[in-house]
């Protein structure tokens, strides 16, 4: 018979167990915080106050009360809240208050995905029902039946949808939504932090179109946004909406003491530097928690990993009858299955859940006692989101991060203060990326003709309108620009990419299934024949890249190496935008051709084979930040080249930690004698055409990244440099040389 223990007891047990604690690289605690309450503001009508009271809510947390007050005062707001702090009330209260006072009022709720939009409904529905009024709330997405659509358009006080549907299903048909647009009071945007990169840049433009249509019908809605903790929520909110926004970030919800444990699996093969499998370690730790009857969530990076861990863990409950108390949760489950899991989690019937990042976003499953992360989820914000799933208001909670052998995981586990001692990444986007902007100006022109001199958001449209007129897409007459083709522009524009020509990735392992998409530029180096493509935590080998048809056929494999393609890059600087001497930000043209690839063994980084790549060259216009090194710090040309390689490698590995992007979003190239600066130069450029703000952010935050790079090198126990720090086997005082270059770039020497 297993013995139940409290979280406090199991934490002590783990601390005292050398088999566990010897591999803990850092044990971080966050102190408990009491709740801060405020009375329900007078702006909330009595009816609604009664509904709250019936649900046992006599007073609000301070941030909820402030959200109500600020919104009532006519401000747009962004509320930054951790998990389980009652964020839905922050927007449901102002919206419902308004509707009680003015029954014709309408609100639009936007969630980043269709699944989330459907998930959010229940709480709001309950409140609406309790109000016993005529308020109606509907979800509008691709699954809404044609019959129901008319009802949603005409009668939905609250319409819940996602940006993609707004873009292609609502705005281009705005004449059918007159009642919504004429009476729109509030736009609620949940999970604001997910609107970054290409997606965010698109959504910012969808919002420009939304505001334009609202203005046409005479409404000027206010925005209520919520975001997870990121470095720049206010900046992001203002960039996305182009409105003045009030930041509400003083969280009044209580929080129990929290333990954050950084666990690095022990080395099993010193010579090859191979560690024990992170998945097995995750399983071991999670089992221990489950056996102690601690309600636990395990995060894995892919669906397959979820299934593997689930199989392991369900062994524990083999003899159980009835519904399993250990379950999986990932995209691909039916909505009804998910609802059932969520319900059983909330009421404690489920002891453990193994999930992909599907549970990272807003789904309400209550709070669990412990959380085990199988690998670094990619961004600090995501790490905090996942860790936030554990943590009850009045008891302690435990989060264990189990590092895999990937270099980013190792960096995080070895230097956790890089994550703990700074604010999370900032979300970056570039609403004025020309390609994205022109796409949406087309959509907007279809929706309503542009007037000469009209601005699109903050953008001057004259040049673009003229360009589109020359291209026979628009026709100008009497200072107005009319849509002049028979196409439906929103149909051809996907919010999830900036490149119209994506390569589709088809998994042939079982049945032909599309598992992803990639822009053609990246496909050259990541999806060439024989490449090992990583999707989540799974490895796939590319069997054939059909560049003409834009399809890559892959098959799941399990190998101990990855591939690294050589890209022959010719980079030309087109324009310098800003510079401080050592570093410069500007626009570049990149002509690239993939030439050959190497197979690199995990752990040892040995080169164990290579092959040619036969693909045509591609040109990319994008933004870049470049750093010029000082040739005086090198003894020879060869030294200098190695230094360039080392700096480039460090920047590329570390930048994602600060920029809230994927390691593949930034590319680097080096020039021994730059055609632009005539000096040895490292370039980092956005891989998306036109750039999406990453290299610009890098220019701004360069010092932080350089600092981290310097520490990575200086803290590494190796003598002259190794693949883990400088990316190669060094010699002599190579580490010192690299450190000197990094310091020079920071301007500290």
């Amino acid at each position: 018979m297993r013995k139940s223990r409290s979280v406090e007891e199991i934490i002590k047990e783990l601390r005292d167990d050398p088999g566990f604690s010897n591999h803990v690289r850092h044990w971080h605690t966050v102190d408990a915080r009491p709740a801060q309450y405020a009375p329900i503001p007078k702006q909330v009508p009595e009816q609604l106050v009664n509904v709250l009271k019936n649900r046992g809510i006599e007073q609000l947390y301070t941030h909820q009360a402030e959200a109500v007050k600020q919104t009532a005062a006519g401000h747009s707001t962004v509320i930054v809240t951790p998990k389980a702090s009652g964020k839905t009330l922050c927007y449901n209260l102002p919206v419902l208050s308004k509707m009680i006072e003015k029954p014709t009022a309408r609100a639009l709720y936007l969630y980043p995905t269709k699944a989330l939009a459907q998930d959010q409904n229940s709480d709001l529905m309950e409140m609406i029902e309790a109000l016993e009024g005529n308020l109606r709330c509907f979800t509008y997405d691709g699954d809404t039946s044609p019959a129901a659509r008319t009802k949603v358009r005409d009668a939905g006080n609250i319409v819940i949808t996602n940006p993609d549907m707004l873009h292609s299903g609502i705005l281009p048909h705005h004449t059918k939504w007159i009642r919504l647009f004429e009476n729109l009071e509030y736009i609620v945007v949940d999970e604001l932090h997910t609107y970054r990169g290409v997606f965010g840049s698109h959504v910012a433009n969808v919002f420009r179109r939304l505001k334009r249509i609202c203005a046409y019908y005479g409404s000027h809605p206010k925005w209520i946004m919520t975001s997870a903790t990121i470095a720049n929520p206010l900046e992001l909110a203002e960039l996305l909406t182009e409105e003045e926004v009030v930041l509400i970030d003083r969280n009044g919800a209580p929080q129990g003491k929290k333990h954050l444990v950084f666990y690095n699996p022990p080395v099993v093969n010193e010579a090859l530097g191979i560690r024990r499998s992170a998945t097995l370690e995750t399983k071991r730790i999670a089992s221990r928690l489950v056996e102690a009857n601690i309600q636990t969530i395990v995060f894995a990076r892919s669906r397959v990993r979820v299934e593997v861990l689930l199989t392991y863990l369900q062994e524990l409950t083999r003899r159980e009858l009835g519904p399993k108390s250990i379950v999986g949760y990932r995209g691909g489950y039916l909505p009804s299955e998910r609802r059932e899991i969520e319900r059983r989690l909330r009421n404690g019937e489920i002891k453990a859940v193994v999930s992909t990042n599907a549970l990272e976003l807003g789904v309400d499953i209550g709070q669990l006692q412990a959380c085990v992360l199988n690998g670094y989820p990619g961004t600090v914000a995501s790490l905090w989101q996942q860790a936030g799933r554990a943590g009850r208001r009045h008891s302690e909670s435990l989060v264990v991060f189990v590092a895999s052998s990937s270099s980013l995981d190792q960096l995080v586990v070895e230097q956790p203060d890089m994550i703990l001692n700074r604010s999370p990444e900032a979300a970056r986007l570039d609403p004025n990326n020309l390609i994205i902007l022109v796409d949406h100006i087309k959509c907007a022109a279809f929706e309503l003709p542009f007037q000469k001199g009209e601005r699109f958001g903050t953008v001057d449209t004259e040049d673009i309108l003229e360009f589109l007129t020359d291209a026979h897409v628009l026709h100008e007459r009497a200072d107005r620009y009319y849509w002049m083709t028979d196409s439906f522009p929103a149909h051809d524009i996907s919010l999830r990419t900036s490149d119209q020509e994506n390569v589709v990735i088809v998994d042939q392992t079982a049945k032909h299934q599309v598992i992803g998409e990639m822009d053609t530029f990246s496909a050259m180096t990541l999806l060439h024949d024989e490449a090992i493509y990583l999707h989540g935590a799974e490895q796939y080998q590319v069997e054939k890249l059909d560049f003409e048809e834009k399809k890559a056929y892959v098959r799941r494999v399990d190998v101990d190496y990855y591939t690294d393609a050589n890209l022959a890059v010719e980079l030309k600087v087109l324009e310098e935008n800003k510079s401080d001497g050592a570093k410069t930000f500007g626009e570049v043209s990149v002509i690239a051709m993939a030439t050959l690839f190497k197979k690199i063994k995990f752990g040892t980084h040995e080169n164990i084979g290579s092959g040619p790549i036969h693909l045509p060259e591609r040109e990319l216009h994008t933004t870049a930040t470049w750093f010029t090194l000082d040739e005086r710090f090198a003894y020879s040309e060869a030294d200098l080249e190695d230094q360039l390689e080392a700096v480039s490698d460090l920047m590329r590995r570390l930048a994602p930690l600060y920029l809230m992007c994927d390691t593949l979003d930034l590319f680097t190239t080096i020039q021994m004698k730059s055609t632009h600066t005539s000096k040895p130069t490292v370039y980092l450029y956005d891989r998306y055409p036109g750039g999406i703000g990453l290299s610009e952010a890098l220019y701004k935050d360069a010092d932080m990244v350089l600092e981290a790079a310097e520490r990575t090198v200086s803290d590494c126990p190796c003598e002259s440099g190794c693949p883990r720090c400088v990316g190669m086997i060094g010699y002599g005082d190579f580490k010192q040389q690299v450190i000197r270059q990094l310091q020079a770039l920071k301007g500290t020497i």
């Binding site: 281009p172 004449t175 059918k176 279809f446 929706e447 009497a478 849509w483 028979d486 439906f488």
Partner: protein
């Protein structure tokens, strides 16, 4: 040299007139040359082209006048119009695209039967900027209450008109109250089994009127865009012609299809009967079913069901018996149980149905399973009753 010439030589010829013709005027003149009339409104303008035909003119086998006769006479619920014939518009539009608020209508036209003649009117939008004039005159001309005879107009042309009307509604009349006779629906009911496509073109061809040098519909927007750029009406003429033919064709098609459903005996008896049945016209449908010379099993079943519901069991039972189908046996079993009070007979019929089900070959396993369960239940209930 030039200056010198003008200084030295005085000419007697009159100089060029200081008349400046605006591009609008040039274009308007061209429209007039093609028989168009320029209608203006608040500084905007549009073109109206009107033509009349005598009522005894034959088009696609029918005189235009016959359409009026059908309107006044027909009892078929689908073809009945509840307004005066001159409020019935045989209407069609041409648009710049297929969907969305940004798709505009550049050509609306209709044929309507007036006292003594058929009137055919087309309204042309010379530029998207002139939609107010375009809708103002169209709405002014058609009056406050109309019935449209269209081909897919109920779900395409009319919603699109509503969409574009939104943009100009503050300055033009509100939309009339309307009703629809959408001939696409009629064509589907009557011709679907015989034709791969029930496009207007295909239906015309089926009745022996193949269009030869007609403009393919999808090219219409290109012609329009080109016309807007060049302001040359000739570019639009093929579209006008195509559209004109479409409207006139609607008049004849209305006559043809409504005749098909009301003339005593045609090849379309089955389709007619089922359509009436679905429209809820049980008596009419029954008459149709009774007239079929070689009715399908589906028709016999429906005929029998109407009779059964009317309490005419003596007539219904032989029909059910003649079917030898699962549904037929089920009905017989019900009759045996409730009316004849013969449980053994009811069980016998149920078992016959089950035997048929076993022989049935289909990919729809689930449907079969469901039917099987139902039959088994039925038998079980009967057996319980028997004991």
């Amino acid at each position: 040299m030039k200056a010198k010439l003008s200084r030295l030589i005085k000419t007697n010829e009159p100089g060029p007139k200081a008349k400046v013709t605006s591009p609008d005027e040039v274009e308007q003149q061209k429209w007039k040359d093609h028989g168009g009339e320029i209608l203006t409104f608040e500084g905007e303008w549009c073109v109206r082209i009107r033509k009349t035909y005598p009522l005894d003119e034959v088009y696609h086998d029918f005189k235009f006048g016959e359409a009026r006769k059908m309107m006044c006479q027909t009892e078929h619920p689908f073809f009945v119009v509840d307004l005066e014939p001159d409020q019935v518009l045989f209407m069609d539009t041409e648009t710049t695209g297929l969907r969305g608020s940004g798709t505009s209508i550049f050509l609306i036209g209709f044929a309507r039967i007036q006292e003594g003649h058929l009137e055919m009117i087309q309204y042309v939008l010379p530029h998207p900027a002139f939609e107010t004039a375009f809708y103002y005159h169209f709405l002014q001309d058609i009056g406050d209450e109309v019935r449209f005879v269209t081909y897919n107009g109920k779900s395409f042309d009319w919603p699109q008109i509503k969409t574009r009307h939104t943009f100009v509604k503050s300055r033009v009349k509100q939309l009339p109250s309307v009703g629809h006779v959408d001939l696409l629906h009629a064509a589907r009911r009557l011709l679907k089994p015989r034709l791969e496509s029930v496009s207007l073109k295909a239906v015309e061809a089926y009745f022996g009127h193949e269009r030869t040098d007609d403009l393919p519909g999808f090219l219409a927007p290109m012609h329009y865009f080109q016309y807007v750029k060049e302001r040359n009406p000739e570019i639009l003429l093929p579209v006008l012609e195509h559209h004109h033919a479409d409207c006139l064709s609607l008049v004849s098609l209305y006559t043809r299809l409504s005749q098909l459903v009301t003339t005593p005996v045609t090849d379309f008896g089955e389709e007619r009967a089922h359509w009436l049945h679905d429209l809820g016209e049980q008596d009419q449908a029954l008459r149709e079913f009774e007239q079929l010379s070689s009715p399908s099993k589906r028709s016999i079943m429906r005929q029998a069901m109407i009779l059964k519901r009317a309490g005419r069991f003596e007539e219904a039972i032989p029909l059910f018996e003649s079917l030898h189908t699962i549904e037929g046996y089920v009905e017989l079993a019900k009759y045996a149980k409730h009316k004849q009070k013969d449980i053994a007979l009811a069980i016998d019929y149920t078992e016959r149905a089950m035997k048929l089900l076993e022989q049935k070959r289909t990919v729809l396993r689930q449907t079969i399973d469901r039917e099987k369960i139902e039959l088994e239940h039925r038998r079980a209930r009967l057996e319980r009753k028997q004991t």
